[in-house]
Symmetry: C2
Subunit: 80 residues, 2 copies
């Protein structure tokens, strides 16, 4: 089973990487870009086939390793 | 309009960052992790309100800046 985890900085947390992308887009001539936030996308292939169990396990992975929940939020999506 | 761009390394391209996460998950006791790939997640707030025009513009941003299409693929998702 493949699980996709999206990790983003929380609203209000400064995101210099996103700001850099926003500036670069402006320099390339793209107008009307009000804001850019950059996060991480992690795809995990699990041996587990039970969807509920997989979600519980991935949530534990996020809390313990993949996301810093002080400043980041995460979203889990079961792909297949 | 908010657009979410998912940038991942193509299949077959080595992903040392994903490998490092896989090892770390194993060290933490998570078993049954067959593979991990790590990519980028970019959220863009656009002034444009036309969905088709926004998608065309973001596709251009990906080709010119956000993704290295030699080794990466991207997926565009219009959020709102």
């Amino acid at each position: 089973m493949r699980v996709r985890v999206q990790v983003m900085l929380k609203e209000g947390v400064l995101d210099p990487q996103g700001e850099a992308v926003r500036h670069a887009l402006g320099a390339l001539g793209f107008e009307g870009v009000a804001g850019v936030r950059q996060g991480k996308l992690i795809e995990i292939d699990l041996a587990a086939t039970d969807r509920a169990a997989a979600e519980v396990e991935v949530r534990a992975m996020c809390d313990r390793l993949l996301a810093n929940t002080v400043i980041e939020t995460y979203r889990i999506e079961l792909v297949e």
